[in-house]
């Protein structure tokens, strides 16, 4: 199991299109991936569920912790980090 903490700098947080891109990316990995919003002290939720990602209301500048468990855990964390660092390709 691996995890990392990352700050979401995107203007709208993980709400609109970025939330959809994030979930889509998470779904491309076999590992179980969980996300929690550290800033808001949220539950750990399934990164592959759009409704769950919306429910932790990740705003601009919130810190999130992503935990991945599975064969491609390292790639999953790397892939999701790149997505956020590249501002969701916007």
């Amino acid at each position: 199991m691996e995890s990392l903490v990352i700050k979401v700098i995107n203007k709208v947080g993980l709400h609109a299109r970025p939330a959809a891109s994030f979930v889509k990316k998470a779904q491309s990995f076999a590992s179980q991936i969980l996300v929690e919003n550290i800033t808001k002290n949220s539950d750990k939720v399934n990164a592959k569920s759009f409704v769950k990602i919306l429910s932790i209301a990740v705003d601009h500048d919130n810190d999130i912790r992503i935990t991945a468990d599975g064969d491609d855990a390292a790639q999953a964390l790397q892939g999701l980090k790149e997505l956020i660092d590249n501002n969701f390709g916007e």
Partner: protein, 571 residues
């Protein structure tokens, strides 16, 4: 005939009968079924059907919306909900553990998440909550066998009036049958606003107070330019708007043919028509619509949505690429114009009670000199060989201009000392958008090379009314005589000091204002690229002396309504 005032969110004019669109919301009561397997299969089939419906809708949206539009992606997010693992797990559990019917299991789970997300107190999430309900209803309609979406009942081309329109609603309509959209509420950033603009359908929002009077079948006129709606219009009004509608399309087409020629008045005076842009894509469309340069390059896009300020080199690359689109034509670049209402945390703007009267524009630049000077360095270096002019936003006093120009001198000295080449012949100007700056224009003209009047903010600050606030619609009108008199003061003061004046608010692209601005002596008209062809065409219709007479009369009128009425005869 009755007249209602809403907020115009998508340009164009429509005449026709009203079609009341009531989105039929299916509400499901708790109900149990014998065989969970049967219910599960019904649900799977409905989800499958909904998925392929969404696919079709996505294709339709992609074909009908302008290419490059992101709006079609709304439907991709919808499709994602149909296969959401956690949502489906919950539905599955209530089918098998609680023996709910497929309808109720689905309804209960989607309502739960829609409610949860709506409770987060965020505008973005409220819209996602609406998305979940939109998808939930799509599946329920299939489950209960009510697949006749109300949008299919529209028989003749109509003005569609609704409480609200979901993205699915908006796109599902047969475009040949929709003349205009009108909704009770919503703002310029709502789904209906974005989609109707992309579809090229006139639209008005904020007609809530008059909803009850808008009976199905009643004849109406919708003016998406002004946000006005006329109910039971008389023959003359109908005729006028029908003509406007055809004329608009016809004249736009004609104007496009000549848009790459200069705008020269009847008596041979060439007027500069340039574009407002906010990035490289705009720069390309500006050229396509015939802009002879740029009157306002907004640089905010480089600074927002990031954790650290953009580096000098990063900025140089972006500016150079944009400048290169315009060759020797002028590019008036505005330095960073943000305040507490826009997110750029690295600027550490304190939370303010009223960001529009707070630390923003040039005030912010002066408070964050390192960010400001980096931008100045990048502009001066990227400007080599181009016709670059730089202006500062939200300047209210002579002292601010002097402080700003102090930074310009400092940056020049530093570059010289470091032996780094930069463009020496940059003109420096200010935006006139605070009333104090308009009043002090004669003193300010001695400090800078040019002015650019920002009429959107100037009218908001002069009339103390927010243009986006539906409670004070129409108050902050740039054609208010008070604003026109300020514009005259600014132009006169500038010309007396041999300075040129541009105008980059929406007024510049409004044909109604063209003769007034010409007559007041405006040197440069800067507008959204799409407005350029018609304004150029309009300028060609006047002589400067006629325009002067029109302008003089317009500013002598006592009310905005008088001004608008008077100017209509010259359209």
């Amino acid at each position: 005939m009755k007249t209602f005032q809403g907020v115009g969110i998508s340009a164009g004019v429509a005449v026709g009968p009203i079609f009341r669109y009531e989105s039929q919301v299916i509400v499901v009561k708790e109900a149990f079924a014998k065989d969970p397997d049967v219910e599960n299969e019904r649900l799977q089939n409905a989800l499958h059907q909904a998925g392929s419906d969404l696919d079709n809708l996505l294709q339709k949206a992609r074909t009908e919306l302008n290419t490059g539009s992101n709006e079609a992606e709304i439907f991709e997010a919808h499709a994602m909900l149909l296969s959401d693992p956690d949502l489906l797990d919950q539905v599955h559990a209530s089918l098998y553990d609680k023996h709910y019917t497929a309808e109720y299991a689905w309804y209960e789970a989607t309502e739960y998440y829609a409610g949860l997300i709506a409770s987060m107190d965020s505008e973005y999430l409220a819209a996602r909550s609406a998305d979940i309900k939109d998808v939930a209803q799509r599946v329920l309609r299939i489950l209960v066998g009510n697949n006749n979406s109300a949008s299919k009942n529209i028989s003749v081309p109509s003005i569609v009036v609704a409480d609200e329109l979901t993205p699915s609603d908006t796109v599902a309509f047969d475009k040949a049958k929709v003349l205009a959209f009108c909704t009770r509420s919503g703002g310029p950033t709502s789904h209906v606003a974005i989609l109707s603009k992309a579809l090229g359908i006139p639209a008005i929002v904020g007609i809530g107070p008059w909803m009850d009077e808008l009976k199905p079948g009643t004849e109406a006129v919708v003016d998406g330019f002004t946000g006005k709606m006329f109910l039971d219009p008389d023959e003359a009004t109908i005729k006028k708007f029908k003509e406007t509608s055809t004329l608009y399309e016809e004249s736009f087409r004609k104007a496009m043919e000549k848009t790459h020629e200069h705008a020269i008045t009847k008596d041979g005076i060439k007027v500069e028509v340039v574009a407002n842009i906010g990035g490289l894509d705009d720069a390309k469309s500006a050229v396509e619509y015939g802009a002879e340069g740029v009157g306002l390059l907004r640089t905010e896009f480089i600074f927002l949505e990031r954790g650290t300020p953009p580096s000098e080199q990063e900025q140089i690359d972006i500016y150079s690429e944009i400048f290169s689109q315009f060759g020797k034509n002028p590019v008036v670049t505005r330095t960073l114009d943000i305040g507490g209402d826009k997110p750029a945390n690295y600027l550490k703007i304190p939370e303010e009670m009223n960001p529009f009267l707070g630390l923003r524009g040039t005030r912010l630049a002066l408070a964050r000199p390192e960010v400001f000077e980096t931008q100045l360095r990048a502009l001066m270096r990227a400007g080599i060989g181009y016709n670059l002019k730089v202006m500062f936003p939200m300047v209210g006093t002579v002292q601010e201009v002097r402080s700003v120009m102090e930074h310009v001198r400092k940056v020049k000295n530093e570059l010289t000392q470091e032996g780094i080449p930069f463009e020496e012949k940059i003109e420096w100007g200010i935006m006139i958008e605070i009333p104090s700056a308009a009043v002090m224009a004669d003193a300010l003209a001695k400090e800078v090379d040019f002015f650019s009047i920002g009429t959107n903010d100037l009218s908001q600050y002069t009339l103390a009314a927010d243009r986006g606030n539906t409670n004070v619609v129409g108050v902050a009108d740039a054609l208010d005589p008070a604003v026109l008199r300020l514009i005259k003061m600014v132009i006169d003061a500038a010309h007396a000091n041999n300075r040129w004046v541009g105008l980059c608010g929406e007024l510049a692209g409004d044909g109604l204002a063209t003769p007034v601005l010409l007559g007041l002596g405006l040197d440069e008209f800067s507008m959204n690229p799409r407005a350029i062809p018609l304004v150029k065409q309009h300028i060609r219709k006047f002589t400067i002396s006629t325009a002067c007479e029109i302008a003089q009369h317009a500013i002598s009128l006592p009310t905005t309504a008088d001004v608008r009425y008077y100017l209509k005869s010259f359209l």
